[in-house]
């Protein structure tokens, strides 16, 4: 911590001596601001559409300045059937369970690879990293999951196919290499701690930033996944949110035709379904948790990834 402070102070002084000219700084600001706008504008646009009345959409289409605002879409969401909430629940469940299990598997694997005194280290290293280079492809993997492993129409089908990412193993192993002194393990062994005791009581606490990184990467991956459900899930009760969005996109009347989606109360008003704003409102609901949370966790990802890719 202290060291960082000193460094940043140095840098600040350096800046003063060695900063760029005002015109170039303005130019840089314009370029970056434009790009940032491009990153964020689509989401703002979708939020605006979700608050636009159907009448306004009919008249002038999607617009940043609708002629009439409306809460219809969100009122409708409250009346929607179980499906949306069920999918919300599924997404959260899959994300939480998937993240916990995948993090556990990843850090254990990475830790063993980090241990220089592990006899089979070379073998398991190769065993893991080879899969980054070579795989069976979509069809064989699909057949194995469905026909041999029974990953079909159950929660396991949504969690298992994404449990391990060799890239995360690399990140984690590198993290251990840079932040865990070997003496610590030796000391713990002399103190009589078993391997698991050492791992959970000593290694895990000092590796929190690294673990946080892969936990976040994994939870984003789980939250955003729609292709795995497309392949392995047919029953709507397992649909996660992202897949729901996919179905709404690929099937024009998915909203109107799906009983559990529309629900008994809303189906009475199906004629004035604010279809377009409703879709966009659902998009907002999917993005919102991420939009709220990521400013807080982005720095973990940055630090973790920097270590992983620089030294990997």
């Amino acid at each position: 911590m202290d060291k960082n402070k000193v460094m940043s102070m140095n840098r600040r002084i350096g800046r003063r001596l060695n900063s760029i000219s005002l015109p170039s700084e303005i130019l840089i600001n314009i370029v970056l601001a434009l790009f940032c706008l491009m990153c964020i504008i689509p989401f703002i646009f979708v939020i605006i559409i979700s608050f636009t009345s159907s009448e306004s959409i009919r008249q002038i289409g999607f617009s940043f300045t609708p002629v009439q605002w409306s809460m219809d879409a969100y009122n409708f969401i409250l009346k929607l059937g179980d499906q949306l909430w069920r999918s919300y629940y599924n997404s959260i469940l899959i994300t939480v369970i998937g993240t916990v299990i995948s993090v556990l598997i990843t850090i254990l694997y990475a830790y063993a690879l980090f241990r220089k005194d592990f006899k089979l280290r070379g073998f398991f290293m190769f065993f893991c990293f080879f899969t980054m280079l070579f795989g069976g492809g979509l069809a064989p993997t699909y057949y194995v999951c469905k026909l041999m492993l029974g990953l079909s129409d159950n929660y396991a089908a949504l969690v298992v196919p994404m449990l391990l990412n060799p890239f995360n193993v690399i990140i984690m192993r590198t993290f251990f290499q840079t932040s865990v002194p070997t003496e610590l393990i030796e000391a713990s062994a002399i103190d009589g701690g078993g391997e698991y005791y050492t791992f959970f009581k000593i290694i895990v606490p000092i590796s929190k930033p690294g673990i946080a990184t892969i936990a976040l990467l994994n939870s984003i991956a789980y939250w955003n996944e729609w292709f795995i459900p497309l392949l392995y899930v047919r029953d709507a009760k397992f649909f996660p949110l992202q897949y729901l969005l996919y179905r709404m996109q690929s099937q024009a009347d998915f909203l109107a035709k799906n009983a559990s989606m529309i629900g008994p109360e809303a189906s009475k008003m199906i004629a004035n379904l604010p279809e377009h704003s409703l879709r966009m409102a659902l998009v907002v609901l999917v993005v919102l948790p991420i939009a709220c949370a990521y400013p807080f966790f982005q720095r973990y990802i940055i630090s973790g990834l920097t270590i992983g890719s620089v030294k990997g």
Binding site: A33, F45, V144, G194
Partner: protein, 322 residues
């Protein structure tokens, strides 16, 4: 228990060692089992590429289906080398990837340098946060974003075109602009992320180097040229090698969901991955052809990685991956 073992030392040393290895094996085991089942067993499914894959109707399971399907040699690969479409999809995959690797590199490094030059920390932080946002979104969400702009009857751009009295473009049926749209979408999603990675590397550069240079009268450009870029080199190279190894893979979501699976756009949106998927979903081709395409993709990707790595090793041995 273990304490006594540790203190007893010599006679049970071998035992303790074996025990340690065993315990470490139990640690890798969950991951190893997963890798075996979901990554290695499918390797055996590559046989499908050389077979006329059929369901063995007497007792259908994967083993029987494969064993009882007829060998057809390289028949399933013929498609890849005979039809004009396969050429197109290979061209698309390679072309987009090459373009995006180059563009992504130039733009992200420039953005990272720009960010590092900003004097107001607060503004730089805000830019970073905003830029990073698209990285956290799925392509499905992005496809709705795009639809809001391009939808034929309600989209903003067609409406704008109409208001201006221009010919309204039917975006989802006009392949022309899509290479640009896809490129923009790709940059939109990933540039922020890689800029921030590069920025982190730049912040790690010892600032005294710059100070010394500036005292010697080096201009900003010279500082970038002679200090920043050389310091970024290892990272650029690693990311480059990793990207090149994936040059035969494509971001499935980008190519599949953004164009809404639209037929007329296929010439500019079909990549090996979307092809492999489309064949699996319809019955015209067969799983053999799908697997053959994957295998081809894998082999060439592997060769590309090896090639890139050996080139890098020739140029700068320290930077190569292995």
């Amino acid at each position: 228990m273990s304490k006594s073992l540790a203190t007893l030392k010599s006679p049970s040393r071998g035992f303790a060692k074996r025990k340690k290895t065993l315990l470490l094996i139990t640690m890798v085991l969950p991951g190893a089992i997963w890798l075996f089942l979901l990554r290695y067993v499918p390797l055996f499914g590559i046989l499908i590429a050389f077979k006329d894959y059929k369901i063995f109707s007497k007792a259908p399971n994967l083993w029987n289906n494969i064993i009882h399907s007829e060998w057809v040699g390289f028949d399933n690969f013929k498609f890849l080398f005979t039809s004009t479409d396969s050429l197109k999809m290979i061209k698309n995959t390679l072309g987009y990837n090459a373009l995006w690797i180059a563009l992504g590199l130039v733009i992200s490094v420039s953005f990272a340098i720009m960010l590092s030059q900003l004097t107001k920390k607060f503004i730089a932080k805000t830019y970073q946060t905003l830029m990073f946002f698209p990285y956290f979104l799925s392509w499905i969400v992005a496809s709705y974003f795009l639809l809001a702009f391009l939808d034929k009857t309600r989209g903003m751009i067609p409406n704008l075109q109409q208001d201006l009295g221009m010919q309204v473009t039917d975006w989802y049926n006009t392949p022309g602009p899509w290479p640009i749209i896809l490129t923009l979408a790709n940059l939109w999603k990933y540039v922020g992320y890689s800029s921030i990675l590069y920025l982190a590397a730049i912040t790690g550069i010892d600032s005294s180097q710059y100070e010394a240079a500036s005292i010697d009268g080096a201009s900003k450009w010279q500082q970038i040229r002679y200090i920043t870029l050389p310091n970024l080199k290892p990272m650029i190279i690693i990311l480059f090698i990793m990207n090149v190894s994936k040059i035969f893979n494509s971001d499935f979501g980008l190519f599949f969901t953004l164009p809404m699976n639209s037929g007329p756009l296929i010439p500019v949106t079909q990549t090996i991955d979307t092809y492999v998927y489309r064949v699996l979903m319809t019955n015209a081709g067969n799983p053999g052809m799908s697997t053959a395409a994957s295998l081809f993709q894998n082999l060439v990707g592997f060769l590309c990685l090896m090639g890139a790595n050996s080139i890098v090793r020739k140029v700068d041995e320290d930077s190569s991956l292995f």
